[in-house]
Symmetry: C2
Subunit: 445 residues, 2 copies
């Protein structure tokens, strides 16, 4: 076990602090790019968070950001901030490899809409991060460019699919990264790497220019060191005005979903996640789910059907280009029937209706983000409290309900077990994001 | 070939005329029920339009209707009018057999919402009409109670699945019947039997209490002798105020979809249908469809997936209770994959978008209703202009696009070939129903 301390330039710097320092002339965008690139040079050989580093593009963007600030042009809270982009999201002029041998030669012609919004907001793109092949996996260790590795223990996974984004933020190589989240792919690496990850309401950040995994479950999300940094980035990406968060997160009513109803959960993980919510003023009570199996069925039927609709021709023509991992999932996906898909869509409607009811009685719903801490790279089964389960199930089961529901959800560091981070997850109704971020910020402190 | 003249009591009476006569005291609801029941007694042995006749209920309802009118209680344009109900629609206290041995013992406890609206409107329910088993077929000749037969030639099908409703109106046994229409099941029997059939915008008439075939394609519709009678019944069923139709249907712009782009079509059928639109003032031009195959794929993938989701357990447990016909369709339905269903949903979105564009350039879109006149009972293949096709394809192909689009569509008698009726079909945007009915009324005259 190779223990790393997160040691990059951004390990102790938040976006909101950097924004102040940039405007006070205490730091320049060029210095932030140097910090990012130096950290990548120092740390990434062991972590494999990046698949592409765009040094020239980063320097140019930083120079422009500094020149604009000097001229009084202020593009908002991400002006001059280095950002890493998950490699399923198109950045004009750079390859989008998607962790796959199928797209080894593909170079994006135009920016994804979320990338365009970052650029318009003055952000400085430093590179593309390792993704589980086609974002179809929760571990981040099945990628054509090799596994991303956990900064807390490089023998362990980052979690996925936005694994490189999780590792890059956790190691302090960048203060912000974009990810995508179809069943937890932003929140899972955030939890396993000990950072904050947020996925918004379905479609709040457009997915144009993002390679799809499962269109009705796909979300673009953000990973950063703090909840307020996630909020800042989210508002830029969603096209919302930047604003002070007036919510204090006091007296919020939390509904705790006992994770065991969704999947066997390491009792230490559950204890730490739940204890993290024991901050003054929050009230908490257990809530019971009507049909947890229905949520799993809805997710599987929808994800499988939509994913295979995307990959059917690739599977037929070039199956050998897939990793065995993803090819096996696609094999299961191919077998999902149309009538099962129809029932999955109905089960989704039922879960959405149930969540709507639950969130009329509490402000936030909470679980651990994952059932376990980071597994070993390559590990596919895991024993939890005497029961053997798939790693896939242990990582996805608590996160995916919020993709099925399409609701905002955040993962926040709750503590560690033997040095490995544990995340606690909070979900809310659309429009309650400020409350969500405020409570998340209180947990971290 | 046994040629019948339509000879029932209602063969030459319209709902709108009867409504006037009821209020003028020239006829009573009881006399209308006697007309209906006598016609059924005289004609139905040869036609099998009815599976259940509710003599007692009809007499009671007629007595009530007459008493109310005498007291000055007027429930609107269907007050006292006899109506037949397709046997997939629940009528409290009567069996709903659905043409199936699976439901031999099922008696409905409550009225379907559409039936409730008819009763509230004073209509007099006389019985349930023969349906193709589970409404899953376009011929009307696969039913546990035997085939419904075409009043114009009893060796021929009525078309389906609302075959009994088509036969009952065409033979003059009732002036109005309810049907359901998932791929043409109201319009096809209307065309083959020589009556007017209308299906409204998706969900304009609620389907609560109607046994589903394919929920996102199912529509409740009406069959009557004239377009204005359909309009009258539609407005009652959709919960709209009764009103005079101010549209004249003059100068409407018709887009003709050459039927051969959707399916091989009997050239005589095409000629007669097209010539029926040659009434003064209408302008007509051909429109080209971008992706006719996409419409067929959308329909098949959606109908099959939704239908099997309804019947999966019945197929697994009691396959022998299905007719071979429907069991074969369900076998194909079971094989539809989830990813094909996803692509079907996308193809539906594309067709909807295309129709929206088309209907911004013309007022109505037109085709023949079916590609052929009524085939023989039991016939499953048909030669059209030298090409052998399935009867199913020849009957459904021109009608189902409007189920996929979810738009209002009407079939109107356009003429005959060797005594067998040909229908012309018109479709419109939601909100343009009065124009549709007005043009349809001009065609008939």
């Amino acid at each position: 076990m190779t223990q790393h301390s997160p040691a990059g330039y951004f390990a102790n710097r938040t976006i909101n602090e950097l924004a102040d320092q940039l405007r006070a002339g205490l730091v320049t965008a060029a210095e932030l790019v140097r910090g990012a690139l130096d950290s990548i040079d120092e740390l990434d050989a062991g972590l494999n968070a990046f698949v592409t580093v765009d040094r020239q593009g980063a320097w140019q963007a930083a120079a422009k950001a500094d020149a604009e600030l000097a001229e009084g042009v202020d593009r908002g809270p991400l002006h001059g901030i280095p950002v890493a982009i998950k490699d399923v999201i198109d950045v004009a002029g750079l390859p989008t490899r998607m962790g796959s041998a199928h797209f080894a030669d593909y170079v994006a012609a135009t920016d994804a809409e979320c990338v365009r919004r970052l650029r318009d907001g003055g952000a400085v793109l430093v590179g593309k991060t390792t993704t589980h092949e086609f974002a179809f996996g929760a571990t981040g260790d099945s990628a054509h460019n090799g596994p991303s590795r956990n900064p807390h223990d490089t023998s362990r996974v980052t979690g996925g699919s936005s694994g490189g984004s999780g590792g890059a933020v956790a190691a302090g190589m960048v203060p912000l990264a974009l990810g995508t989240d179809t069943g937890g792919s932003v929140r899972i690496p955030s939890a396993l790497c000990g950072v904050v990850g947020f996925k918004p309401t379905f479609n709040a950040i457009p997915t144009d220019g993002v390679f799809p995994l499962s269109q009705s479950l796909d979300h673009v999300g953000v990973l950063a060191r703090t909840a307020h940094d996630c909020r800042t980035a989210y508002r830029v990406l969603a096209g919302l005005r930047s604003s002070f968060c007036h919510e204090t997160g006091e007296a919020a009513r939390i509904g705790w979903i006992p994770p065991g109803t969704l999947h066997p959960t390491d009792p230490r993980v559950e204890r730490i996640a739940r204890a993290a919510l024991d901050v003054g003023g929050l009230s908490m009570r257990d809530v019971e789910l009507r049909d947890p199996v229905g949520i799993h069925k809805a997710f599987a039927g929808i994800q499988y059907s939509e994913a295979y609709a995307i990959h059917a021709e690739r599977v037929a023509q070039n199956p050998q280009l897939f990793t065995p991992d993803v090819l096996e999932l696609l094999g299961a996906a191919a077998k999902t029937t149309g009538w099962q898909h129809v029932r999955s869509l109905r089960a989704r409607d039922q879960w959405r209706s149930e969540v709507h009811d639950l969130l009329s009685r509490v402000d936030l719903l909470a679980t651990p983000t994952t059932c376990v801490v980071a597994p070993e790279v390559g590990q596919r089964e895991i024993e939890i409290d005497g029961t053997v389960s798939t790693v896939r199930g242990a990582l996805l089961s608590l996160a995916k309900p919020w993709n099925v529901a399409g609701l905002p959800a955040v993962s926040v560091p709750a503590g560690t077990i033997d040095g490995l981070p544990v995340g606690v997850q909070l979900a809310c109704s659309p429009g309650q994001e400020d409350l969500l971020f405020a409570v998340a910020a209180r947990i971290g402190t």
